[in-house]
């Protein structure tokens, strides 16, 4: 159930922040290491609140962490 239309750069941002571990990031934003791993691998889309917290940890904007690709998003528009 990976969400191809939402990509993230958390792995790269962790590397740039002195190879921060998933556990450390999880502790910072109040989630488990497994949840960080699921977000990184695209198996889980975080809530807006958690997304902002993650961006805040890396001191970047939300757009620098998550990218949305509307072409890959398969949803039905409401008529």
């Amino acid at each position: 159930m990976s969400k191809d239309h939402i990509q993230n750069k958390i792995r790269m941002l962790r590397f740039l922040k002195g190879e921060m571990t998933q556990q450390q990031l999880g502790d910072e934003v109040g989630v488990t290491r497994q949840t960080v791993a699921a977000i990184e691998s695209g198996k889980y889309s975080p809530t807006l609140q958690l997304a902002f917290r993650i961006a805040n940890v890396f001191d970047v904007s939300l757009d620098d962490v998550f990218k949305y690709d509307p072409l890959n998003d398969q949803f039905k528009k409401k008529k």
């Binding site: 159930m1 969400k3 989630v31 488990t32 497994q34 691998s41 198996k43 889980y44």
Partner: protein
Amino acid sequence: MAIAVQKAVFNFVTTILLMGGYLFYVFGIQGDVTLSKVLDIQFWGIFILKLTVLMVVAKIILFILFAIFKKVKNRNMDEEDLEFMDERDKLIEMKSDRYSHWIAIFGFMVSMIPASMGYSVQYMFITILIFGFLSTLMSDVWKIYFYKKGV
């Protein structure tokens, strides 16, 4: 294996063991269940009430033992909080509970079929028990699935 998955697997196994143990106790060890007793609505009322109490008490005791076991095993490692749930855990629990409730509701509807056809009450109770047991098991199965495949 993540602690949440371990908890789901532990729940799955203990549910099967407790249910199996209870069925063996009632129909195996006691063994004095006659046909007239099985057809009696009082028997099934007591059966379900006892089962509910047993499940609740046994699950609490087993979970405490599980927590102690984890604590002893991970003495030198970072402590994992068994009670901690983040937003992903809550979402997975909600989804798996919703799916298991569908099974329970479906089972209740199915149990009305023998009742409406005039069969004895035992068929209704057995159907409710089977689907109740299945819904409990499937809740854990879906949890494991969502943790592995994503939600």
